[in-house]
Amino acid sequence: MLPYLTMNPFGFPVLSTTIFMPLFGVLFILFMSNEKAIKVAAMITALLTLAVSAFLFVNFDPTTTIFQFGERISWVSSFNINYMLGIDGISIMLILLTTIISPIAVLSSWKAIQTRVKEFMISILIMETAMIGVFCSLDFILFYFFWEAMLIPMYLLIAIWGGPNKDYASLKFFIYTLFGSVFLLVAIIAIYLVNGTFSIPEAMFKDYTFQFQFWVFLAFGIAFAIKVPMFPFHTWLPAAHTEAPTVGSVFLASILLKMGTYGFMRFCLPIVPQASFYFAPLMIVLSIIGIIYGGFVCLSQTDMKKLVAYSSVAHMGFVILGIFTFSIYGFVGALFQMLNHGITTGGLFLLVGMVYERTHSRQIYDNAGLGKIMPIYMFFFGLFAVSSFAFPGTNSFVGELYVLIGAFAVNKTAGFFAVVGAVVAAAYMLKLLKQVAWGREDKRDIKDMNLREIIYMVPLAIFVLWVGLFPRPFVNVMEYTLVNLATQLDKVSH
């Protein structure tokens, strides 16, 4: 029995099932040749995974801080590497986000992807397995394994189904993230050498020397900062987004970016807390630069997709800001912003993709004046655009409110600077919204959203308003874990 892990109470390994369900689907798809059947099979697989994760969510006990649904099998015993899984209030939310986004991703590429459908669907499903795996792993090596496994399908998504400049973008993405991964590996090995185990929970809140913490934080920090991406490591992101197919952008924005912030929360804070305190001012300054810089760059964009991509830099700045306030409000806000950004920005990328399929352009001018032509589209676009700049009543407002409360409580100057970013966000989003709704008068032959598109946007839209107006059920799930994290950090700081 491990003190930090409650074993899985069910007759089947529920976490492993969630992780490998998509891979299981791939086994079937490998032997299929009919494109339609492949799509249907991928869809069914993604929905089954969603069902298992929903089962997970329903049975999740939000009143404990111990990792749940634990599984532990010895893997490489000579190095004390275990196949160890378990989830807490942080990971459950991100797993759910992943399993909700995946079927939407499959559905959204139904028509958009015409070449190599089989390989495409396989890539999506492998991605899903790797992403869920990252959030479930409690062993560093296992974590690293899934972390790297995400890279390849993502690279393929950009390099094969990407836009005209896909070679440059995919290579940049690959090199950037691989560069970060090297530092991650160094940090992991350093921790192993001190602890003699790759168990993540066992590495938390130990009395490491400050010097050790300093270097480990730096190594982790670079790896995660690239992934987030934080200013000044963000340059790969707009390139990758503009060239990636819609699904690639959705995965990238909704889930892959969360890996970085998840890393900060899961590793940096509990494992090297003193170094986290030490670096907090720097992190806060960088996050605020990201928020404001990202906003101003958005103001000058003429490419819709680039605009949404740069807005991600600003949004993720809010997440980092929340994390490094070390307060419960900041943590809840940060986790909320991760989910919100996943839903809202994911939604915006889907909407940009939709209009791209019709006009074959991402330029704002080419997609302007859709108010009369595509009223249903305009409704969704309006909702997600106002959610993106944290309009009250939408999900992002709740997250931003929590983050700002945390920020103002810790440092009012940081709070005021973040507010500047929030104002700029309103400016660029309202500007975009006005252009898309009314920017042109001429009539063009563009069809409004079809039923399939409405079906996959509706769940996201419901989430936007649900979290915006009734966030408590979500807070309840994550609260214990985050309060525990804040309390533990508080102890260390004294």
Binding site: V398, L404, V419, A422, V423, L469
Partner: protein
């Protein structure tokens, strides 16, 4: 006496459903306008259903959901809420009728969008009135900004876009840039965003850092730019590019009153009169808004465009409301709050008249209106009555306001404020009386018409005559609202 009731939610629900129905019946204008008027009447009745409870000194509360400890999506109806709720829902009835005449005569485009956004703006105004805390207030305050944007930009020409751009920059810029940090600072200092039940104590605990309390207060006042306190007033004249019914209901009543209402609410229920007194910011506020009262009136004198003159008159009159609250004694507060009603009825009449003149004779400039009273006797008669109210002549509504404000100023022995009120009455007379004189006593009837009276359609004239008559009624019988407001003290 606290009563748990979903009535405020019901009234907002009715507005929401009306907006949906309006959108759904885009194909048949008659049904669409039916929903608009029907929704307005039903909303008003629901609001009136809350009157007995408040009349008895009760407060209605309802919590819909909790956002964080001390932050919730909640509703709280007291006399202040109800005053604004009644005014916005009651005048929506008249505006809906007036809209028909205006929009159809001018064959305006995108009427469904127009009516839907109109209803959504009223939804926001209702939400602001019944907000039980700053979270809810902020939410509905922003709803108003968002849905009035398409109304200001309605004509979708260069002027419309320019006006709307200014509108959104001023309103959303201030609410994100100033109001949001003010709300968060309040929460950080007090641990709650709910409003206090007592207008004297507020929610700030004893010993709060007075500098940060003051900063928060300033951010609040600057953040509610809908109140059009100088120098954050400039969006209002620009918003006059909107169709006149929008200027009438929204930019004389719902939107701008949401601003002054919010400031009043925050002054009374978040800060409380005690702390404002102790810090001495009440009287400073009074001086700041006095500057707005006088300056806006002087600018109004120079405007020849009728709507522009009315807009600056609004800027000036809105500050009366805040002036009354800022006096921080019961008489002054009463005078400020009752002006929400008095100004609402009178100013909507004036804008209705401006729209009627435009529809019937295509005139905007006051200098072109010599003799118009001969052909539009009802409209210009209503205009004369409403302008008397603005000046504060008994027995029209505005007199009640001036009476209480003067008494309030004398009670705190503030001679400068008394002087401001006197000078501003003269200025009001200076820019309103000439319009009436010109309409009735200058020009010739033959310049206007050969066939006698030429008024705007009945759907426009009837509402403006009724609102003018109500202005008189309010002056004769202010007791209903006075008694209601007294429940606050």
């Amino acid at each position: 006496m606290v009563i748990e009731s979903a009535l405020p939610l019901l009234s907002m629900g009715i507005v929401f459903v009306s907006a949906i129905l309006i959108m759904a019946s885009r194909k048949s204008p008659n049904i669409r306008e039916f929903w608009s008027i029907g929704g307005a009447i039903l909303t008003f009745l629901t609001v009136m259903a809350m009157v007995p409870i408040i009349w008895e000194g009760g407060v209605i509360k309802y919590t819909l959901s909790t956002i964080a400890p001390g932050i919730s999506l909640n509703f709280r109806v007291d006399a202040l809420s109800l005053i604004f709720g009644i005014v916005s829902s009651f005048l929506w009835i008249f505006a809906s009728i007036y809209n028909i005449g205006y929009m159809r005569t001018l064959k305006e485009h995108a009427q469904t969008r127009y009516y839907t956004c109109f209803a959504a703006a009223i939804l926001g105004a209702q939400g602001v009135s019944y907000a039980g805390g700053l979270f809810t207030l902020y939410l509905f305050y922003e709803v108003i900004s968002l849905f009035t944007y398409p109304l200001v930009a309605h004509h979708q020409d260069a002027d419309g876009y320019a006006g709307a751009k200014k509108y959104v920059i001023y309103l959303v810029g201030t609410s994100k840039g100033f109001l949001l940090p003010a709300v968060i600072l309040t929460y950080v200092m007090t641990g709650t965003l709910d409003f206090a039940d007592n207008i004297h104590t507020g929610i700030f605990p004893a010993g709060s850092d007075s500098i940060w309390v003051t900063v928060t207060y300033i951010l609040f006042v600057a953040g509610f730019a809908k109140a059009a306190i100088m120098p954050l007033h400039n969006w209002l004249p620009s918003a006059m590019v909107a169709p006149t019914p929008v200027s009438a209901l929204l930019h004389a009543v719902a939107v701008v009153k949401a601003g002054v209402f919010s400031i009043s609410r925050v002054m009374l229920s978040t800060f409380g009169t005690n702390i404002l007194n102790d810090l001495g910011i009440g009287i400073v506020t009074a001086y700041v808004v006095s500057f707005t009262i006088l300056t806006a009136s002087i600018i109004a004198l120079t405007k020849d465009d009728l709507k522009a003159r009315l807009a600056y008159s609004t800027v000036s009159q809105l500050s009366y409301i805040i002036l009354g609250i800022a006096l921080l004694d019961n008489t002054g507060v009463l005078g400020g709050i009752i002006h929400i009603v008095n100004h609402g009825f009178s100013k909507i009449t004036l804008f209705f008249c401006a729209g009627a003149i435009f529809v019937a004779h295509n005139k905007r400039k006051i200098s072109d209106m010599a003799g118009i009273g001969h052909v539009m006797p009802f409209t210009m008669g209503a205009f004369a009555i409403a302008s008397l109210s603005m000046i504060g002549v008994p027995p029209v509504a505005g007199f009640t306001t001036k009476w209480y404000l003067l008494n309030g100023a004398l009670e705190i022995s503030s001679i400068p404020i008394v002087a401001v009120l006197m000078v501003s009455s003269l200025l009001n007379a200076g820019y309103f009386v000439p319009i009436t004189i010109r309409a009735f006593f200058q020009g010739k009837k033959s310049d206007w018409s050969t066939s006698g009276i030429k008024e705007a359609p009945l759907t426009m004239v009837a509402p403006l005559v009724i609102t003018a008559l109500i202005s008189v009624l309010l002056g004769f019988y202010p007791d209903f609202f006075v008694t209601l407001i007294s429940n606050l003290f």
